[in-house]
Symmetry: C2
Subunit: 201 residues, 2 copies
DNA sequence: GGGTATACTTAACACTGTTAAGTAGAAGCG
DNA sequence: CGCTTCTACTTAACAGTGTTAAGTATACCC
């Protein structure tokens, strides 16, 4: 019964084609400026074919964001589980977070800069890819606390504050790219260092 | 020649009616979910009438955001020019910034969480209302530096870092409202205090 | 009162995401 | 082989969007 398998393979390969085309378009033109018809034209199928593989436009974008954010999660895991001072690891993790956001601004925008929870059902589903990355950061914070590096703060507060810090600079650099920022390096260092120092106090 | 004046008055009053209707709708339903036809229906005019007073939908929203952010600017001016420790003033200013964003999430979203500068011409125009508020904060930072409170940091770096800090928590609370945040109070205090402490070090 | 400017509306365009209905062809089965 | 059924896909259409061009009634000016 290899027939069904071949069919599945074909179906999957078209799904991948759609994802590839959409990823390109979303990254270069932004979610709102990409139409289903544009994606369809790029893969040389009719627009409705996409709906055989994805529920709607948002679902298509979500799939792509999940892929991309999985890469961030893996990178963060590697960084935060590396040996050495946990605070130093955390610092490197936060930097990696910002770098990632700036490397995939469109994905970051859709995942973290767009309101997500009108529907209280899919709260967990909606930003799940992004929230997984956060939970890894949180684990890094927990390591620091366990090592006695952050007295007087709890895991939740500290990790949320550090997330908001990294998100603040990431999202502002994305939304106001042509603002006369000081050196990105300097800014990130100042923020991350100050915040980590605040946790350590 | 009071005729033209009366006409102007009438024209202005319709403009105000449009602004009032649109402000309501934008605040309650969000920019994307408000259509020109909805605004028109609310003021009981035809949709095209709006275009006699505003260039397009974005222009309408921009006018409203400018109004709203002007109120923030005035509030920040009052806070930052009040007597006492400039660092304490700055802290209160940052808190006011976050509170403002949470009070007008839709306005904040459009002004600060949406990319603005595809067109390099209207960089200054686009987020002008919001950027004015930033420049007032920057002045507060300058006061702190002048008072010798922030050694080892320059005005630009410090104010940008503090802006990003306030923006980080504001925008995350807006975009992920149903995330299990720790107490808002606690979070803002932790972030602002840590960052200010970092500047003071 | 006749001509002109003003304020507004109606109709339409080009486009969007999405769905319902239709079609060619392969698969399954006698 | 021949018939039916299922699968992958397309065509046509819907309801809606922001926006513009063309038309209309009314108030103003002389």
């Amino acid at each position: 019964m290899g027939v069904k398998e071949r069919r599945d393979r074909q179906k999957n390969s078209l799904r991948k084609e759609i994802l590839d085309a959409a990823r390109d378009l979303f990254a270069s033109q932004g979610y709102e400026n990409v139409t289903m018809r544009k994606v369809a034209e790029k893969i040389e199928y009719s627009p409705t074919t996409i709906y055989l593989h994805f529920q709607d436009k948002a679902d298509l974008m979500r799939s792509i964001c999940e892929e991309t954010f999985d890469r961030l999660s893996r990178k963060l895991e590697k960084i935060l589980q590396s040996p050495g001072d946990p605070v130093e690891c955390l610092k490197r993790g936060l930097r990696a977070y910002v770098d990632f956001g700036l490397e995939y601004p469109q994905h970051y925008r859709v995942t973290f800069m767009t309101p997500h929870d009108v529907d209280p059902d899919d709260v967990l589903v909606a930003g799940s890819a992004g929230l997984k990355a956060f939970s890894i950061l949180q684990q890094g914070v927990a390591d620091c606390i366990r090592a006695g590096k952050f007295p007087n703060v709890d895991v939740a507060s500290a990790s949320q504050a550090l997330w908001a810090t990294a998100h603040g600079i990431t999202s502002l650099l994305i939304s106001h790219a042509s603002f006369p920022w000081v050196s990105r390096e300097k800014l990130i260092n100042l923020m991350v260092d100050s915040m980590l120092q605040g946790m350590a106090a």
